[in-house]
Subunit: 224 residues, 2 copies
DNA sequence: CGCGCGCGTTGATCGCGATCAAGCAGCACG
DNA sequence: CGTGCTGCTTGATCGCGATCAACGCGCGCG
């Protein structure tokens, strides 16, 4: 499920473990920057991300962008509504995808086990989006960035030398558009966290958690 | 389909038209201010709002509140995630509700038609939330209020003397918590729209659209 | 009728994050 | 090796919406 908070970190990877007979469609690849689908497109497939990262975007006429969710390995993307996609989906890196025919989801026909999984994924996505709402509507810039790092850590964080490390596979602009901020503000908050020894930056795209408790307190607003 | 934008205004009222045998549960009522369920509660029922309005809320430890959605007549509320509710649900007025057993939704057992309706409702909710994201992340205060009025009009607006009218069944504080603003800002924006003759206020809880086109332009940011 | 209370409105000020701008680091290219 | 480009960082300033405060209005109640 989508990058939003820790309790969403249910492992969906077993989706891919369905026998290929039920999948019936070969894995596809997408280069960084390419679009998997766009808002308004008719939905014929839904996809499970096998490797890489995608973003689900909404655009306003004047160019303002909001990233609804990042799709990480295990996530399902492409939920239809009235047969149409309601976001753009863009690859942020080289992405491998397992497609499923939308007809396999329809209630009349289709595989009941796959359908149940699909339902479960949709309900998890709703819960994940609810956390994201709190972030966008009520949290400060620092709280948003801290929440984001913690959510990403819960999904893809690694242990190394007893410290948590997390890769940021997306640009600062992508993070900003996800959090409802600007790239400048994201950069400033990360610098501030670095200066106060809460995190360290190991290159642009890797964060080391030096004081995870402080980060967690910041994320939930308990720091006052 | 929660109050979010016009293209969500699919009529869900036919949910209630299922023969009572499939419902099997009697309609319930809830007084204004009472809670239907709270975050963390085990999910045994989902509910369709028959009359009145409910809000789905998230709270932060320090009291900050975000309203995820308003549940208007026809809407389904109480989507489970891992068997738990992930929001509070509070009645904003006297509410009538049609409960459904969650077991009727499970894939193994349960009514397939009801299950398909439930799936459709969940997918619509996802799409509606995506619009709300753009609102919270990227729109100005005036754009948020205008978008809200237009979305509410699409759901519950009335024609009267050739003018659209819409009731606001919730308080200014509820609107503010839905839009990620403060009550003062909501009040100021409404006053501004009134002074510029875009809307008129017929009492505290009713808005008349004087210049719907201007309101629509404001909502989408086309006014520049 | 007087009073208190909750909710909404309006005004004054503050501060966070956006905006505008400059500089820097990494990297592909000839 | 130099050059240009792109993405990230940092600084200076601005403005929107939050905050703090006062007031008005409707309404229930003694």
């Amino acid at each position: 499920m989508y990058v939003t908070n820790a309790n969403q970190a249910v492992d969906m990877a077993d989706f891919a473990q369905f026998p290929t007979e039920t999948c019936a469609l070969p894995e596809t690849r997408l280069a960084a920057g390419a679009h998997l689908f766009r808002e308004g497109d008719a939905v014929t497939r839904i996809y499970q991300v096998v490797a890489g990262v995608v973003s689900l975007n909404r655009l306003l006429e004047d160019g303002r962008r909001q990233i609804i969710a990042f799709g990480l390995p295990g996530d399902l993307v492409g939920f239809p509504c009235d047969g149409r996609h309601h976001t753009d989906c863009e690859a942020l890196s080289l992405v491998r995808l397992q497609p499923f025919r939308i007809t396999q989801i329809d209630c009349a026909t289709g595989d009941p086990v796959l359908r149940a999984r699909f339902m479960e994924a949709a309900l998890h996505e709703i819960a994940a989006m609810q956390d994201h709402f709190m972030m966008l509507g009520r949290k400060s810039a620092a709280e948003r960035v801290a929440s984001f790092l913690i959510a990403l850590d819960a999904r893809t964080g690694q242990d190394r030398d007893g410290q948590r490390r997390v890769d940021l596979p997306m640009s600062r602009a992508d993070i900003a558009d996800f959090l409802g901020l600007t790239t400048e503000t994201v950069s400033r908050v990360l610098s501030q966290l670095r200066k106060s020894r809460v995190i360290a930056l190991d290159g642009i795209h890797r964060v080391v958690f030096l004081r995870p408790a402080a980060l967690r307190a910041l994320a939930t607003g308990d720091c006052d």
